[in-house]
Subunit: 427 residues, 2 copies
């Protein structure tokens, strides 16, 4: 009986697994370079948990299940709610700042499309309990530090940075009420993703004054913070937010990633939960979804029954990233070996097959990777097998072994051969 | 609003995550030493897939879900069906033997108890397309090679090995019909797990002849293959199976793990799908569930719509293993650091805080892990922070830097300090 995989999921054959590991290993290395500790949670949580942060709309995107006890559960579509739950549960025992990273497998019941699958991996980094813009800078730095380590330059990717606090202050200065803001964020977030007309129409449904709409449209196009004052009066809140942003850019420059970063008022992020700096990294060409996104959030722990504590974080999925790495030639089909060996043992005389097994076991016990042929055929075929496995060295057991307990060691890169006593093999 | 985690799942705070990584890293290293390539599949598959190998009973143990298209899906309770599906889909493109490993996250809706959770990780290794007992030996070797690498000795764990082929031949010799065997396997498998009376009673329901039951009970207690002939006549099938087992033990001895291995007729494995060698690794004391189990299976690929192709594999969960590693003192609470740093930068003069940020970014870009304090307090407090992060070295920025652009490097192990020019820092 033949059954296929479920649409929107991926099978990781060894070549695809090598790519997944290449990406995840890079994420882990960047996290550790920047001092983040790894955590993880369960693959499913109570369904209700996902409604707290993201509202009822999220339920449609969830793979939900009911267990035998009748509990409503869901496969995690994101890990931030789990992070909030876990931190709250040990809030008094955890030294601050809490700097954690995770690479969860996540599932969303969306329509599969380019860069968006139903199952994916997402790198998350979060700093909890640190108000200073240094923490904002750390999160952006770590994201860029990873991308830079793959070989992506400022010509390939750009971190677009703005501030919810600044945006909120400006919108209020334009006469919009506080409770209108959380309705406007998801609309403003769509600006780059939908046609201009559709965007204006959506704004028009929420704002009656066409002058205000006009000013917002102009604000959204700003790439220089100095130009804001020409469009809207800066009240105290806006001035504070602007000063913080300028402080952040100063730090990013000191960190040597200024070239990757720029101010962009159109970065809003859809979710209501952001309260300060917001950012997204995009490919410079701009034909892909965001590579990653994040920002500061002040109320999440509290919303999950914990204390008021500020935090800043970032999430980067593997799907868009992989497309980008391939487009830039960093990932090629032949870049990553699925198998490498320290030693392959070839058998030139079939009576030595048992000896090959014994030697391979010894080599493995010494901590090296090693394989031997299950069937001893022609030597040339075995050497070909060794090459196919990317063996560094091949040990050949033949007449020299039968006569003098000597083995031939062939360096598979240079082709050079050396005959040594078996006991001289340094493991 | 406070929501808890779901019963039977685990939160991996950094210390628990370090243990999970310690186990998974060991599994990966052993797999690669023995030449296995990594693969993985989706976290959910069509529900039906799990009924093919394990029958309808498995459905009760599944977390199943219905997606928006009305498809019946299940979170994977094991990865072998996925393996069979994936291999079948590329059967003509994959070079043989296929030697694959995976460390899937699996979920089973069971009652949580010691060594058994609703969500766990399981190391799987499989060799597909190789009939030789060398492949059986490789799978047992790799399992033991891992356990040995943690420090477990033959006094701690034992691989109990038997053969379904042998058992089947002997049971048939006792007059039992072929179609009775698959009913008997799950019962025989329970021998060590239930009281003797309950076991005899279960056998009595399937076998009417009390002499046959008596002989089976005696067979199950055998630890020396030579004693079989004293209980049952060995027909040709039994002789072949016995010779294969003896061949296997010869190879395991040559591989240097003979001390870990012993013949044990009571190892049956419950699932019908095993067709040859079967084995389980148990703790020597015998008070835990099996650490791992596996064997040869000939029909799985065919059952999943593929060709007839033999295979042999093993699965090892993380829960029982972790208990064992702790009981043997290999894992202690203070064994694993959740965070280590190459450098910590301490700031003896608050005017140098920006310089610390800049230097940390440079050190990270060079590939080293580095942290700096978000708040510059007393130097002693910063050095304490560096120790807490297990920093190898602390760079101190103070008067020497202000006057001569010199930095102090403190080796955190020896306590020795060195003053060097900033440019001399070799990264």
């Amino acid at each position: 009986m033949k059954i296929s995989s479920v649409k929107g999921t991926r099978d990781f054959y060894p070549p695809q697994m090598a790519v997944r590991n290449f990406i995840a290993d890079g994420w882990k290395a960047a996290s550790r370079r920047c001092g983040f500790e790894e955590f993880d949670g369960p693959i499913f949580e109570y369904l209700q948990m996902y409604q707290i942060k993201s509202g009822d709309e999220i339920v449609e995107q969830l793979f939900h299940l009911t267990d035998r006890g009748g509990r409503d559960l869901a496969i995690r579509p994101e890990i931030t709610p789990t992070l909030a739950r876990m931190v709250n549960e040990q809030i008094n025992a955890l030294p601050r700042p809490i700097k954690w990273f995770s690479i969860p497998r996540l599932c969303r019941a969306e329509r599969p499309q380019k860069g968006r699958l139903r199952e994916f991996f997402q790198w998350n980094i979060d700093i909890i309990g640190e108000e200073s813009t240094l923490a904002d800078a750390e999160v952006i730095f770590c994201s860029i530090d990873y991308l830079r380590s793959t070989g992506l330059t400022p010509k390939d990717v750009v971190a677009k940075i703005s501030s919810r606090k600044l945006l909120a202050a400006l919108l209020k200065n334009l006469g919009l009420a506080e409770d209108k803001l959380s309705v406007l964020y998801p609309i403003l977030d769509k600006k780059a993703k939908i046609p201009a007309e559709a965007f204006t129409e959506m704004l028009g449904k929420e704002i009656s004054d066409s002058n205000v709409i006009h000013t917002i449209m102009k604000l959204m196009d700003l790439h220089n913070a100095d130009d804001i004052a020409g469009l809207v009066n800066l009240n105290e809140d806006a001035k504070t937010a602007l000063a913080q942003l300028q402080d952040l850019f100063k730090t990013l420059n000191a960190m040597g990633i200024g070239e990757y970063c720029r101010f962009d008022m159109s970065i809003v992020r859809g979710l209501a939960y952001y309260t300060g700096m917001v950012f997204e990294v995009h490919d410079a060409v701009g034909d892909l979804r965001a590579v990653c996104g994040g920002g500061r959030y002040d109320n999440l722990l509290k919303d999950f029954g914990g204390p008021a504590m500020t935090a800043v974080g970032m999430g980067m999925g593997d799907c868009v990233l992989e497309i980008l790495l391939r487009e830039r030639g960093i990932l090629k089909n032949d870049t990553l070996a699925t198998k490498t060996l320290d030693y392959f043992i070839a058998v030139a005389d079939p009576t030595l097959a048992d000896k090959a097994v014994e030697l391979a076991a010894k080599i493995r016990q010494a901590g090296f990777s090693c394989e031997f042929p299950y069937k001893t055929g022609a030597l040339g075929k075995q050497l070909k097998q060794a090459s196919g496995y990317n063996a560094r060295k091949t040990i050949i057991l033949g007449q020299e072994y039968i006569q003098d307990r000597q083995i031939i060691i062939k360096d598979m890169t240079t082709g050079q051969q050396q005959v040594i006593a078996e006991q001289s093999l340094s493991l």
